[in-house]
Subunit: 116 residues, 2 copies
């Protein structure tokens, strides 16, 4: 069952959520960081730096830096892969799950408030 939106609803929803998020949270994640975070939490593991870079169509240092930032915020964690010690496996954290849960609630709330 897909989500059917009118253009006005689509942009209205994005507007309301962006505005609410800007006002609520001083942590100003970039679009890329948010995309990475959502990908880690919504797509089955394992996740590697290389895989994420390919998925987003960006270079590896971009991923490394995003993980640095979000790691410092406690939203993700990194662990060496013992089966191939060149790899780093990106792990979810409790704090990250809570962050996205709140973000999801915000989307749902703003969706309910959309007119028409």
């Amino acid at each position: 069952m897909p989500i059917e939106l009118t253009p006005s609803q689509a942009l209205g929803l994005w507007h309301a959520v962006s505005l609410a998020q800007v006002r609520v949270d001083s942590r100003d994640l970039t679009l890329r960081q948010l995309a990475i975070l959502l990908h880690i939490y919504l797509v089955p593991p394992p996740h590697t730096v290389r895989g994420l870079a390919a998925t987003l169509g960006v270079t590896k240092p971009v991923i490394t830096r995003a993980l640095d930032t979000m790691g410092a915020l406690g939203l993700v964690d990194r662990v060496r892969d013992d089966r191939d010690r060149r790899n780093v496996v990106i792990k979810r954290t409790v704090e990250g799950a809570i962050y996205l849960e709140k973000f999801g609630d915000l989307i749902i709330d703003q969706g309910r408030k959309q007119p028409k």
Copy 2:
């Protein structure tokens, strides 16, 4: 008629749209910039620096800089208000309208592709 979303749909939609936008567009607008842009195009004018700053809960220079950046990208325009020449009225542009139109289409497309 509000938009009713499950948590999985809400985050899934955001995930898909963020990912698609990152891949499609190298212009990496911050969440704040996007919020400003959407506000200008979705809320009836006039829009001023001061008003936007209050709406987003940020300082005026943040708005000035965002308008500098998006102005350089052709997404918005600035015009002095002749009735009160201290004010600057923020104007929409054709290019900005096209940008948001494409963005809306992207949201609608990704909404249609959402499972469940």
